[in-house]
Symmetry: C2
Subunit: 321 residues, 2 copies
């Protein structure tokens, strides 16, 4: 009998990550192809399906596929309202891939699937209630409650980057508001706060970076803070104070078992986890402050494909027994 | 054939509200009995079951019961960790009532069931994603996402009253923190802010109340604000600004279709809804600010029993066809 595998697909603006994954969550094979953005992304699924067929070994049976994409998605229909980075607009993702592969397909937002991956096999393994937070260029989120991904009325649930961190005097955000969490706790936000700090203070680790390289990145700020530079550490403290408050307020309402932190900023590791925890515990209901785990993401770039396979398993694979 | 009915039960510290409700949500009969708090509430379910048997008409068949109680509940087990107002602690609510009535029983937190009631037959009718907010002595909440009540890891989901509204200088809260939403937007909070304002300003509608009655209530503040008293209106504006921000931050993460506002403070009606909307739209992602409905609760005191029956129907009644 052939071994049954699920295809997990994570479509990004530059590459498409693909993996064959067993129903137990074991990655049998994983690879990437380049995202073909030509003609509003119309070749993306064609090339993905061709690559999947080519990579499938004869001893495997492909039973289903899950696919994650950056954008707003109607999960029931597998319909993309818009995925700006890919050129897709009002695109029948699920139907197209089902026609190409002749297997059932489920599609969801990539941040939601990263949350699903961490829940299934990562830093929130087995959690029925989980909040996944990505601190990258922006601040993204995925919410799992009662074992299910929360989508909200128009697929916008999890947009925690647009929680208002600064009621007044905040920096403008891409969403049209000011003072969003994203403007202070993303890599972009930390770099901006670092630049402002060095222009104000004109000294220390960040000033050296400024003089040698001409700018300051989020990594510089985090590195400087770790080295004990007071200007850099004050910036990190400010960013993590805002993040801890926003997470506490969310957890007072959602009561997850675990918060999983991923994305570039999370590479600073326990150094920022400790700062986030201090702020979180200050603002959370005491029981929630004590009991909520805050973990670093464990799956890295594999979270998306594993989460996509998890969702396909949940949708299509019958439990035995 | 007998008409099938579900018992909806809403256990409060003073009275127990009970209703027979059809599977379509029609209340056939409703009544109340007094809550017997003797011996840690051990007679509450005995007396509830006896009353149900007595009120059941011979033309009805009782198929299931739903019961709401104030406290933290393990819904799968129907187990009450603690319901302080009733004297219950580690109490097998579901098992006890099932033994008494010989029908399947489901139990949940009363605020969650009020949300369920408004979702089924009230101001959020049919919504699959709904946030119910009760502005009473405290600020309570119930979250429905993807058609399901969100419980969180230890039954604490929906505790939106403990979102931190004031990072600094806030009043102490029962939860042990300071500056919780509940300290400014509940009836208690509005009364406190009103008292502080009149002691500071010593004039206007609230000063008259203070001089004639010796204190100021939340209703006085809301009445004064409606009459155009500037001291009172400033208090209401402050409270609703905090509430609108907290709701916007939650909705940026949960993307509900509808927010339903109930409890004593909500009796001020459109006057406060308009203020909440103004703050909400300032802080929500623009699309969420435009699309999220903010409605007054429609079911009043019936929300709990209707929500209890809804949950029992969801758990136990098979859909036809």
């Amino acid at each position: 009998m052939k071994e049954q595998v699920i295809a997990g697909i994570d479509v990004g603006g530059t590459t498409i990550k693909i993996a064959f994954i067993t129903e137990d969550g074991e990655i049998k094979k994983k690879w990437e192809i380049t995202t073909n953005q030509k003609e509003n992304g119309k070749y993306i699924m064609v090339e993905t399906a061709a690559s999947i067929k080519q990579q499938l070994e004869s001893s495997w049976e492909l039973t289903a596929a899950g696919v994650g994409a950056p954008g707003f998605i109607d999960v029931e229909q597998g319909f993309i309202y818009e995925a700006v980075n890919l050129g897709w607009k009002e695109y029948e993702l699920k139907k197209e891939l089902e026609a190409l592969l002749q297997i059932p397909v489920v599609a969801d937002n990539d941040a939601n699937l990263a949350a699903g991956g961490e829940k299934w096999k990562g830093a929130g393994e087995g959690a029925r209630n989980l909040l996944a937070v990505t601190l990258g260029t922006g601040v993204g989120g995925g919410i799992i409650a009662g074992g299910q991904i929360i989508h909200g009325e128009s697929g916008m649930a999890g947009e925690i980057g647009h929680i208002t961190a600064l009621k007044e005097g905040g920096a403008p955000c891409n969403c049209g508001k000011r003072g969003c969490l994203e403007t202070v706790a993303s890599a972009t936000g930390i770099a901006r706060l670092g630049l402002e700090a060095v222009q104000r203070e004109k000294k220390g680790y960040l000033m050296e970076k400024m003089q040698s390289v001409g700018t300051v990145t989020a990594k510089d700020v985090l590195d400087g803070a770790k080295l004990g530079d007071p200007v850099a550490e004050k910036v990190v403290d400010e960013a993590m104070e805002h993040l801890g408050l926003a997470l506490a307020n969310l957890c007072n309402s959602l009561n997850p078992e675990t918060i999983v932190l991923g994305g570039g900023v999370s590479k600073a590791g326990d150094f920022i986890i400790d700062k986030i925890k201090a702020s979180f515990q200050k603002y959370a209901i005491p029981k929630i402050g004590r009991e909520t785990k805050i973990n670093l993401a464990a799956l890295g770039n594999d979270a998306g494909v594993i989460g996509a396979a998890w969702l396909a398993k949940e949708f299509f694979v019958k439990e035995e027994g």
